[in-house]
């Protein structure tokens, strides 16, 4: 009964599909939540960085249902500059949704995301565009000199990033940095949901994009409050398992589950071997027959349980294959490199 409920997530009718042809050269996406003080400065700095480039551009400000007057400030700014586009949510949804909405409505050939709290420096935008022109598809910002507390912010982040690099094989020093640049073809392909924005470069690498890093400026927080802290190691771990599965095996989930299945098979085999040969030799000296029998029984039942896991995971893998095929996801081709050769 519990499983019968449909998933209550809105299918948005009034947003254009992400496949809309791009008409501009650059889109900058900034999710905004209660940043009334930093908004005018942010706008000035972005404009100062982008206008000299002589590009066609737009600045998409996604207002995540701010309550401190940010909305009015945004409309005020927009009155003076038609480059601004303002998207307002019907309630607070969080940063990832803000980025997803920004990607969805963006029209630029290149999409750059950044924080609304002035910790990213818009002056880095030209350098990021240069990197893209070198032939990369994704440029991730790297706050080499981070202006945050070491124990509470930087240390957990270093550990998390190392772990992500180890598991996925894509080394991004600073996955948490919002300042990133994407080519449109990458943005079109990436489904963005949940708290996934930090994995975007890793995920795009998984779909064949060329990913690189660029050291960017990081400034201490001046206005407003930091919007997240630590205390989520377990969740990061779970997310990592999911990302590993999605990045490397979303086309062929059976392999992921197959590997796990083999792991359980070997564990069961090792256990059985150790149990029968390691365990039976001492007990064979015991003359009482019942002792030998009970030990054999135990080893047998435990190995059987572990081997059940093997079968179970193999079946789960088949189920996952079924899901992937039913969704048609496997038909979407990986990102080709021809696009880069043109530029």
């Amino acid at each position: 009964m519990a499983a019968a409920y449909p998933v209550p997530i809105a299918s948005q009718r009034d947003t254009p599909p992400r496949t809309m042809p791009s008409t501009l050269q650059l889109s900058i996406v900034v999710p905004i939540f209660n940043e009334v003080q930093s908004l005018p400065i942010l706008y000035k700095q972005i404009a100062a960085a982008v206008v000299p480039l002589k590009l066609t551009w737009e600045l998409i400000l996604v207002d995540d249902f701010s309550t401190d007057g940010s909305h009015e400030a945004l409309l005020e700014l927009r009155r003076d500059d038609p480059h601004l586009r303002i998207v307002r949510f019907s309630r607070n949804y969080g940063q990832t949704a803000g980025l997803a909405a920004g990607f969805d409505v963006s029209r630029g050939e290149v999409v750059i995301t950044m924080d609304g709290d002035l910790q990213n420096d818009p002056a880095d935008i030209p350098a990021m565009l240069d990197k893209l022109n070198e032939g990369f598809d994704v440029v991730a910002g790297w706050r080499k000199s981070r202006q945050d507390g070491f124990v509470l912010r930087r240390l957990p982040s270093i550990c998390a990033n190392r772990l992500i690099a180890f598991v996925t094989g894509v080394m991004i020093h600073d996955t948490g940095c919002t300042l990133k640049a994407f080519r449109r073809d990458v943005v079109k392909r990436l489904p963005i949901y949940a708290e996934q924005h930090r994995f975007l470069p890793v995920m795009s690498a998984g779909s064949g994009a060329r990913v690189t890093e660029l050291v960017v400026n990081h400034r201490p927080r001046v206005y407003g409050e930091s919007k997240y802290g630590i205390g989520r190691a377990w969740r990061v771990l779970l997310d990592l398992m999911a990302i590993k599965l999605i990045v490397q095996f979303s086309q062929r989930p059976l392999r992921y589950f197959g590997v796990l299945s083999l792991v359980f098979m070997s564990i069961g085999a090792i256990f059985a071997t150790a149990g029968f040969f390691g365990g039976s030799s001492p007990s064979s000296e015991v003359t009482e027959n019942w002792k030998v029998h009970s030990w054999t029984n135990i080893v047998l039942s435990i190995s059987a349980l572990i081997w059940m896991l093997m079968v179970f995971f193999a079946l789960l893998g088949l189920l996952a294959e079924l899901v992937v095929h039913a969704s048609g996801m496997h038909k979407r081709s990986a990102l080709t490199r021809i696009l880069n050769e043109q530029s």
Binding site: L84, R85, V87, P191, L260, S327
Partner: protein, 338 residues
Amino acid sequence: MFGKETQSTDIPVSSQWAPVGPPELVGSLDVTVVVPVQSGDAEVRQVLQALGEELDRHGRSWEMIFVFDGVQGEAWTKVEALREEFGRRVRTIVFKNAFGESVCLSAAVEKSLARIIVTSPQYVQIDPVELGDMLDEIDRGADFVAPWRHPRVDPLLNRMQSVLFNMVIRLIIGMRFHDLNCYFRVIRREVLEDVVIYGDMYRFLPVIAFRRGYRVVEVKVRHLQEWGHAGFFGFGVYVRRLLDILAVMFLTKFTLKPLRFFGTLGGVITLSGVLLGIYLAVGKLLNHEGIAGSPLLLIAVLLIVLGVQIIGFGLVGEIIIFSQARNLKEYRIERIWE
């Protein structure tokens, strides 16, 4: 929950009595009141008079749709009389079997001509004066007005159960609804066209609407009377409530990250198995206690195996969400200023 009436064969065909209005008429009225009729003793006349007068007083054009949820008998003759009296303002939909309030509401929305839907129980539960305030909230920009019976007049035991239920829900989903068990709701039509509900989801309509990004407002209302069962319910009712709570929890917190749910559950179970194993190993090494014959060893292994299986489910869940992510949107945009 309500006893079914004895079936007879003279149940009218529903479409005959509630013809679908031409599409251009949709939105021509202000308010449609939907009353699911679930027992023969429904006070249809009282509901119609109380709400109708109130709506007239506020100058809102209205219609009332009675949905006979597998029920006829006395209520049907009463509605027949009302139809002669009020003409097209009173409409009926008849189900041959009881399908529950969710289906009643969906069917009524399909036939409704108004831009605001009011759902009402089959008796005058709430002081009709409150309806004006609730409609004003809609005018002020709310999408969904949920009632909060305060103070309540039903028996203390019922109240306590209801308060407990709502507290648990509040704790789990982190939303501030105080009274999900009252079905006197005022809803913008778009919400009901967007949110598909069925089964027991009627109760959680405010939660689901909120989750979909609609603005849900709670209004304190004066409680007049309460029908239905008093005291403790049957065991099955509590089991169903518990499942509902589970479903709501899963849907509001973990839809996009199934591994967070399954992974945590499986992780806890695996961990308890591992701890039990360590306890046994320590006992074996230190005290040379034989563990081979101990049932605890099997239990430890079983726990680990179960936990790993649950995590495996979460992984498949992640694959499902990822492969469907294109169709899922987490957000609702209120407006774009180009």
